[in-house]
Amino acid sequence: MRPPSRVREMPILRVVARALAPVILLFGLYVQFHGDFGPGGGFQAGVIFAAGLIIFALTFGAEALRQVVSVVLTERLMAAGVLLYGAVGVLAMFLGGEFLNYSALDPLTTGHHGQHLGIIAIELGVGIAVAATIMRVYYAFVGRRPESDGETREPSLGAEPGGRTS
């Protein structure tokens, strides 16, 4: 990995990235929670949110981002997002409906209220999982270091990229 020192010396990049990153994160949250009224949803929101963090990492170094979101945390969040999705489905089963039948989530009101609740919950799961996955992919790329014999250090499921953080 080329050290990001030259990028760090570029004031325009640093200022713009610092200004843009929070806006992108906010926009990601907007797309996430407005997804049931307008265009958007968990997948897009997750990608946008992760992109905001990755812009930060590209200008200030992956190490700076790792201090906020560690590699292990991204893996945990990936799993947690999927589990949230599945848990909504299983909860619907416990409330007497079929798997993923969101109407069962709100048995008191007939109509679409339960569907609404269910969609918000599962899209949140999708958003978390996608954001974490994109960041994990980014970490995997950043962690690759060419070695003397041309082999990369990270075999599949092998060592942590940038093993210091785990």
Binding site: R76, M78, L83, G86, G89, M93, L100, P155, L157, G158
Partner: protein, 494 residues
């Protein structure tokens, strides 16, 4: 009660995988995955008892009505598959491989179990679902998981063979997807029963014939039908031994179910075997697989490659049963799913025992090992006899019904060829047995210190070896279910 929790068969392993990733504790993940698979096995057996005799259990995901919503639909055919996959997963996962695959360090081992669970969930999903697109999704889940599992083998070539498997498997998946897309264009629905009801296949309808061709080729790659089998020997011989055992016992079996379901349920036997005469292609390919793959197995010097080539030959027996398109032959093919899973799964577990103690499964390295590891070698012999088809083992049961089905169809030459190909199996099994029992140990590799495999490894291997004998003597359960499934498929139902 069972129809309310049917969906858990897929949901449990699917959600257990992220739980493993969250917990990150290898010992917990090992026993947790074993427990989850045990529950799945119980559900599968309960389903099988529920649907035997022509029953059907249906489940609507999310409460959406079936042709629009996704429907899980279980009859004898897929309940049989579910029981087979979960039983094999249970035995293989209970195999104590002492530290998991070689290239996965301790702190990443939880991911290995997560991927294993995803593979199981994908295979179960293919078998249980009644929705064409859903099949594709589960096909990809199980395939992606199995590419990862194969790449974890100890040898550096494991990664290369996993990549080759990935390329071939993805081509197969694309073909399948194109076929499903054409069917959707023809019928406007993705529900399998709805497709079958709306489709009126005829030779003049190019779209339908093309859809059938794409589906058959796509599934044939995944099933490793003879000229498309090239990914299999490398994938099976470089994967971690436990993974080889699991994939050999389940992955091709589920693909076979998929092929049978497409041919008999969606397109119907009268069109496929009456008008189109698919047997004119399938029968020669099956016989070529039996001979060429068995012939290739004879010349292998590595036990795993030998078994892998033998698997290609065994797929030939299954597709031969399929191409007879009568109840006896098809039941022979279906019963061979279970029988081959039992014997090949057992043999690959024996390979895992040998690898653990001897460090190599090169035939020369195994010389004289029968005296050092008598129980392991005995399980190897039982599995080998079953591959040949000796009476009293499951291999005999399959070949008996296959030959009966072929004779019923009037293909006397094919029946003779089945028996002749068994002689080839005799040669390659004999070669291994000769080395293990009668040859002197090679001097370069002293085996004096080699001891019998530990109980945690030996017990699962022997469970499958014992099953190979038990179901070779009692055929009521296996053949009974397979026969019922075959009649159901021929009648066009699932």
């Amino acid at each position: 009660m069972i129809e309310k929790i049917l969906v858990l068969e897929v949901v449990l392993p699917l959600l257990a995988a992220p739980v493993c990733v969250l917990v990150r504790h290898p010992r917990f993940c090992r026993f947790f995955s074993l427990g989850i698979v045990a529950i799945c096995f119980w559900i599968a057996v309960a389903l099988l008892f529920e649907v035997r005799g022509g029953g059907v259990v249906s489940y609507q995901l999310g409460g959406w009505q079936p042709p629009l919503g996704i429907e899980y639909r279980v009859s004898t055919v897929n309940a049989y598959l579910l029981a087979l996959v979960t039983a094999m997963a249970l035995v293989v996962l209970s195999f104590d491989s002492r530290g998991g695959p070689p290239r996965v360090p301790e702190q990443r081992r939880h991911l290995y179990y997560a991927v294993f669970l995803l593979c199981i969930a994908g295979l179960l999903g293919i078998a249980i679902t009644g929705d064409a697109f859903n099949i594709f999704v589960f096909l990809e889940i199980s395939s992606l998981a199995s590419y990862i599992l194969v790449s974890l083998g100890g040898h550096r070539r494991a990664v290369m063979s996993a990549f080759y498997y990935l390329v071939m498997g993805t081509i197969g998946g694309v073909f399948f997807m194109l076929g499903v897309g054409l069917l959707y264009q023809e019928t406007g629905t993705l529900n399998l029963r709805d497709i079958a009801a709306r489709l009126e296949p005829s030779l003049d309808d190019r779209g339908t014939v093309l859809a059938l061709a794409l589906l058959v080729v796509g599934i044939s790659i995944k099933l490793a039908v003879f000229p498309l089998h090239h990914w299999l020997p490398n994938a099976y011989s470089f994967a971690p031994p436990k993974v080889s055992a699991f994939l050999a016992a389940t992955a091709t079996k589920v693909s076979f179910y998929l092929l049978a379901m497409v041919l008999f349920t969606i397109f119907g036997a009268p069109f496929v075997f009456g008008e189109l005469r698919l047997q004119a292609v399938l029968l020669p390919l099956s016989i070529l697989a039996m001979f060429l793959a068995s012939g290739a197995a004879i010349f292998q010097t590595d036990l795993r490659r030998l078994l892998a080539y033998s698997s290609v030959a065994q797929v030939g027996y299954m597709t031969l049963g399929l191409s007879t398109a009568n109840a006896t032959g098809l039941a022979g093919g279906l019963v061979h799913l279970f029988n081959h899973a039992v014997m090949k799964g057992g043999l690959f577990l024996v390979v895992a025992c040998l690898l653990y103690r001897v460090g190599s499964v090169h035939i020369d390295a195994l010389a004289g090992i029968g005296r050092r590891m008598p129980l392991t070698a005995a399980a190897l012999v039982i599995g080998g006899l079953s591959l040949i088809g000796v009476p009293g083992t499951v291999g005999f049961v399959s070949k008996w019904y296959l030959v009966s089905g072929v004779l019923e169809r009037g293909w006397t030459a094919a029946a003779v060829l089945i028996l002749l190909s068994s002689l080839l199996a005799l040669v390659y099994v004999g070669k291994v047995v000769e080395a293990v029992y009668f040859r002197k140990p090679a001097e370069i590799q002293p085996i004096d210190q080699v001891r019998e495999a530990p109980l945690g490894m030996l017990a699962p291997a022997w469970v499958l070896a014992a099953a190979a004998v038990f179901f070779g003597l009692t055929t009521n359960w296996t053949y009974g279910v397979a026969r019922e499934a075959a009649e159901l498929l021929l009648a066009g139902g699932i």
